[in-house]
Amino acid sequence: MTRTPEHTVIVAHQFENLEQQFDADLLGMWLFLVTEALLFSGAFLALAVYYHQYYDTFSAAARELHWLLAGANSVILLTSGLAVALAEQAADQGRRRAALLGLLATIALGLVFLAIKGYEYHSEYQAGLMPFLQQPFAYDGPNPHNAALFYNFYFVLTGLHAAHMIIGLAVLMVMAVLTWRWRDGARVARQVRIAGLYWAFVDIVWVLVYCSLYLVGR
């Protein structure tokens, strides 16, 4: 991986060598992802408890969501995952242009995802399915009170995921700039790989969000 000669590689002062530094960086990111998984797990657990209690109401409420649009969004997001994986590989092989292209494609697909998500929110707002902020709640299915609980989860979980998307996009934009400048190829490759891990996490969480909100009861 170390294509540049050893003496041009900058190792942070606390490490003995580049390998140790990379091990530390990678382990740090994995641990951070563990904490992220646990962050989502609390919300998923609460959702699971309520599914257990109000299964019929929740699955009826879930049918009002745009599962096809969100399905298309899943395809878009997973494709962005492919793009970032290709970018990682390209950076690792020292192919700067290909890496930059992969990152830009990832960012573009991520933005399309957020746009579609925004459209979904808008149509739910118009249909009166936002049971908070003193909005009229126009749900006409069974047990509207309990259904409101479902929509609350829908907005909290997808909102939390969207917040992570925005953070991820910011990270990827920084990576795109670093790749464009290409000061130290080996270093950029490691950074892109670590950023790619975060993006993969955002993808995987979306799959869980999609299955547990849109598809359960369908």
Partner: protein
Amino acid sequence: MIRDARTGPAPRHHYLNAGHGLASWFLTKDHKRIAWLYFVSITGFFFLGGLAATLIRLELITPNGDLLSSDAYNRLFSLHGIVMVWFFLIPSIPTTFGNFLLPLMVGARDLAFPRLNLLSWYVYIIGGLFTLIAAVAGGIDTGWTFYTPYSTLFANGAVLAAATGVFIVGFSSILTGINFIVTVHTMRAPGLTWFRLPLFVWAQYATSLVMVLATPVLSVTLVLLAVERVFGVGIFDPSLGGDPVLFEHLFWFYSHPAVYIMILPAMGVVSEVVSCFAHKRIFGYRVMAFSILAIALFGFLVWGHHMFVSGQSIYAGVAFSLLSFLVSVPSAIKIFNWLATLYKGRVRFDAPMLFAMSFLGLFLIGGLTGVFVATLALDVQMHDTYFVVAHFHYIMVGGAVSAYMAALHFWWPKITGRLYPEMWARVSAITVFAGFNLTFFPQYILGWAGMPRRYHAYVEDFQLLNVFSSAGASMLAVGYLLPLIYLLWSLRYGAHASANPWNARGLEWTVPSPPPEENFERPPRVEHEAYAYDTDA
């Protein structure tokens, strides 16, 4: 040991004189200086929480609520709890001694992520600011537990500011935890295998695991609480069919392990101190390391014992009760092993050892009364009484704070390069021990007799014991203010410490006091197990 071996010439260059000016402190990436940033800030929070405790004890001298209104009293004990738990106890040992010592103990130049380390301090300060804003804006009256639906729908205080403060400070814990785990995994010096690590490092490692695995669950719980309070996004709201007990589950899934975030580092400190002042290898090193991990693991499986009377299922209650008993096994192993370490040791009672001995006695009492409240039927009687208050103060103050004080005195010469006045330190240790027992032992009796916690008034029969308790609290205040004075004094007037004033083992004692900026001139190579005392003549 010869007294003079404690003093020595000061090194010319060390981390304290490596840079001057505000920027050299507030933008530092040196783990030793970041530890100082934490020292100063958590000391501030400690005395803020202590001030609230003082007012609480003043109110409780008389049975009538004459000093404070019930509302003001509620806000005071909530502030006391929030500040002491999240802004003192949880960060206390890891962010100060952990930060300072972990790289030294593993033979590294710094933590794996120095910038992240500095960031975690800033995150801590921002979280602290939110909490201070909450206090200034009138405080909150929910208690430190933020139980819903009271906190989301009814409480009229700065709940959002306080919850935001706690949410933010959680990320400080997470960042510290990640940093420590990565450092222990990837940065140990050559020859420093896992089973050669000092138990302090094991304790920091286990604590970090708990921080990393539990804190995010609290974060998401507080997010759910916040969106419910601000936007009306009901998650725990009973009128939508939400379940307030679910909040309790999620809250305690963090907050019980949080108890182990507070006590595990303390156990690490006590292992170092006991072994040094008995001048003997720690008894049963491996078992000690494994029992630290076992406590961290069991800590995740017992949260339901806070909810025996909250309407969870009786089967859950039985399971949580049995699992809670299980925690006492590794804890008892540690107590016995510390005692066995003392046996036939050359025991000296310098101030750090006095504090460590306080820890042993008080933690034992706190632990044994924990078995009382882990008992399903008995807890129905004891729940929400002063018995519980006394129990957790024996663990948190008697255990964790005593160990913090032990660490402060033990490593003070290393951190500052100065010796503290030994006589005053012993006076402080004994005052704290006596004052602590006078404050909290009466509360066991009060709780047993049925005095409920969280009220500003009580029936007259309870007055005598409450007066004892308040008198003890004033002793405790003296015991904690003394070190503030003599430690600050020693910074200027204390004798210069030698590299190893306690004749202790461990890599941190091989470098000068205070250590140079880069810690080690060349990377150390470790050829011995930890606590190689017996090999010494």
